[in-house]
Symmetry: C2
Subunit: 202 residues, 2 copies
């Protein structure tokens, strides 16, 4: 039977480039991206099951009641959360699963799933993060200021993660995250059992 | 100033292919291989400073007295050890340093250098290790039996290492060890200080 996969929690402030890094990581077919669930309405172009699982409030609350959410939160009167079943099924198949979630949700996952590996992606500096947010050109200065302030608050919580890494150069960041996923599986706490397996055939 | 390099201790039983894996890793010019010192006589073809630093007994004992050895041991009436200065100089330059040493020496390094990262390379199985030792064709069955028995003893101590990995396929083992070196530097205990550096420029 295949070993259980690794649950990989990735956080980082808006504008740090998590999506771009993860798009490269997800080219590996043994890594599964956990799609969040929400009760908000789909925006134009959003596809159910790709961007989010769009659920009714009743269905979402039923899942909460059945312990069907690994973590959830409310934001602007809508629920957002991580459905437990898809995650556990993929892990049982031996696939690694990536959860891209914000800091509070990540801490909640760690509580209900202590064997999760937590990675925080940092910008090279706060001023560089501001530059990236401005470059998008889609947001007013006020919104950018708010995002930067939120980012500083999140970055301060990065010390609760297992790994921190900077997304300065994309290729380097992708290599680093790939390396973390490979290496974490060889840590003595996760791979110690192979010692016995090697000796069994003595 | 460059960050301090990582001290990488690699152990594994005779025949596991440590040398072949490390030869690939050492193509990276930022990784330095620590050459051991010994008081035994050079064998034909051995070069001072490459295979070993060949020292007199007096010089070796002087280094021990001056705390100039990170670890040392005696074997067949000769000293073997790791000169401290070259290791510390390279680490201070920001280079990573690899020590390829047996289990007891590795444990001694960990005591005097707790920030060392310890990696144990395992064979896929003990029978495969025996096959590899036989394949060399240079040793009698008696010697192979002795090596296998020693290997089993060493493998049992692998649980004291930070990482364990199997050398089954060479390319895979090289990628795994490279990944471990990259990832270890991003663990929160080693990289946590970058959080403050990123925030400094808020």
């Amino acid at each position: 039977m295949a070993d259980k996969g690794l649950l990989i929690v990735v956080s980082g402030p808006s504008g740090v480039g998590k999506g771009t890094v993860l798009a490269e990581i997800l080219k590996d077919e043994n890594i599964f991206y956990s799609v969040s669930a929400t009760t908000r309405n789909p925006r134009e172009g959003e596809v159910d099951g790709v961007n989010y699982h769009f659920l009714t409030k009743e269905k979402f609350e039923e899942l909460i009641a059945d312990n069907g959410m690994l973590e959830y939160a409310t934001y602007c009167d809508n629920y957002y959360g991580t459905p437990r079943k898809a995650v556990e099924d993929k892990l049982a198949e031996g696939k690694d699963v990536i959860l891209e979630i914000e800091v509070q949700g990540a801490m909640n996952v760690k509580k209900s799933f202590p064997e999760a590996m937590m990675v925080f992606i940092l910008p090279p500096s706060v001023s560089e993060l501001r530059r990236r947010l401005n470059k998008r050109g889609t947001e007013t200065e006020e919104v950018v200021n708010k995002r930067v302030a939120e980012a500083v608050g999140e970055i301060k919580k990065a010390e609760n993660y297992d790994y921190v890494m900077i997304n300065g150069d994309l290729d380097e960041a992708v290599e680093t995250l790939k390396s973390i996923i490979i290496a974490e599986k060889q840590t003595i706490k996760r791979a110690g059992k192979i010692i016995g397996e090697v000796l069994e055939n003595a």
